[in-house]
Amino acid sequence: MIKLENVTKIYKNDVVALREANADIQKGEFVFLVGPSGSGKSTFIRLLNHEEQPDRGRIFVAGKDIGKLSHWKVPYLRRNIGCVFQDFKLLPNKTVAQNVAFALEVIGRPKHVVRTQVPAILELVGLAHKAKNMPNELSGGEQQRVSIARAFVNRPLILLADEPTGNLDPSTSVGIMRLLDRINRTGTTVVMCTHDAGIVDTMRRRVIELDHGTIVRDQDRGVYG
């Protein structure tokens, strides 16, 4: 499903965010991406999402070399990828419900689907009562859950989650992790960055550890560190 071949990403100022990374993630896998702050986890995700392009190496998503993707095809790639961003990236001018609905409207889902799916997913992340609020009227954790809801709502093939529990209390985190697990069981490939050792150690899934841009560990049924 996802394959990185010798991928190197160098930001300006010669910051090597990812160095010769190789990884092969099968369909339906659940992968934790761990590593210290600034080790390149978000960069890994941004590369899969075509938000950044690698300086060297090739990246395959769903069998396609996304480096060769023509410009106008990028949105179609992204529709197959749900993404929970570390900084949420909510649309400030839309309500919670509209933010989630947007992901469905983008792929042209009919109105009745939007009308049933959006409240359902908001219920799932525990935000049904905030559906009409604007993002700036939400607490940090609530914003994060909106971001999660938006990434889930169109049942993507791949789910990229960048610290989806960073702003959540332990019990809400557990709820979110259950949700992620359920989604993973329906066949969705999940890649999740996290700093939460508890979650990684409980779930015991594949762990890829980064350090200064290098993959230093790739372990099935691994622990945090």
Partner: protein
Amino acid sequence: MALKVDYVAREVGSNLRRNVTLTLASVITVFVSLALVGVAFLTRTGVQNATQRWQGGVEFIVFMQPAASEDQISAVQEALDESPQVDSVDFIDQQEAYEEFTDLFADSPEMIQSVTPEILPPSFRVEPTDKDVDVIRALGSEFESKPGVKQVVFAAEAIRTLQDFSRLLSLGLFSGALVLLGAAVLLILNAIRMAMFARRREIEVMKLVGATNWFIRVPFMVEGLVQGLVGALLAIPAVIGIINFIESKLTDTETINLFQGFAVHSSEQFGVAILLLVVGCLVGVIGSFVAVTRFLDV
């Protein structure tokens, strides 16, 4: 694609409401800019209409010799009548010329006494169809060489001056209007670019969620269209109000009868209104298109 009308409508509606500052700023820019353009264009039209009648005064006079024979006079009369370039001809015989003379010099009985109808030349006052000075000159000179013709006199210098003046004023106002139009387009594009800049993060997020360029662009373009349209719709009554105010001021003034003919026909007002609408909408749509595109290359 799947760009649904109701999605676009909803999107545009909520954006216009939520970004009130930006919406207002864009609309104000369109409004002020287009109002200036409209007033300039209509003032030009008004001045042109006001000075039209001077154009009508352009004529030349064919003076016959006082001793010209009947045959010579009727030959010239025929030539004038037959010329397709002549609109109307007025023959002033010696008696009529004398009457004009006595009118003119009513204050100077000595001068009137010294003149008799016989010494005054009969003349043809000619109004040509084409009011162009050069055409008139060419036409008039044709008759200069006819037998019995003493001289061809063209419209007074003062009239010519007024014509030049009117033409120049009209040209000046027209160039002014064009410059304003250019400035308006620039200012509106500028305002849209700025508004887009304030929303570049939003555009970026839309892209990241998988929206196609057109999916993002169309609502912004419709938004630009609405802003352009509203700005233009505000500008049109303002322009018409200002023009009517100018008109009433000009036609009221007693000392200045020069512009009493200042009038802008409603068809001309309509034309300018259409111009403003088209410019407002086009600039809104195209400006938004270009401005969004700048931020689409995420």
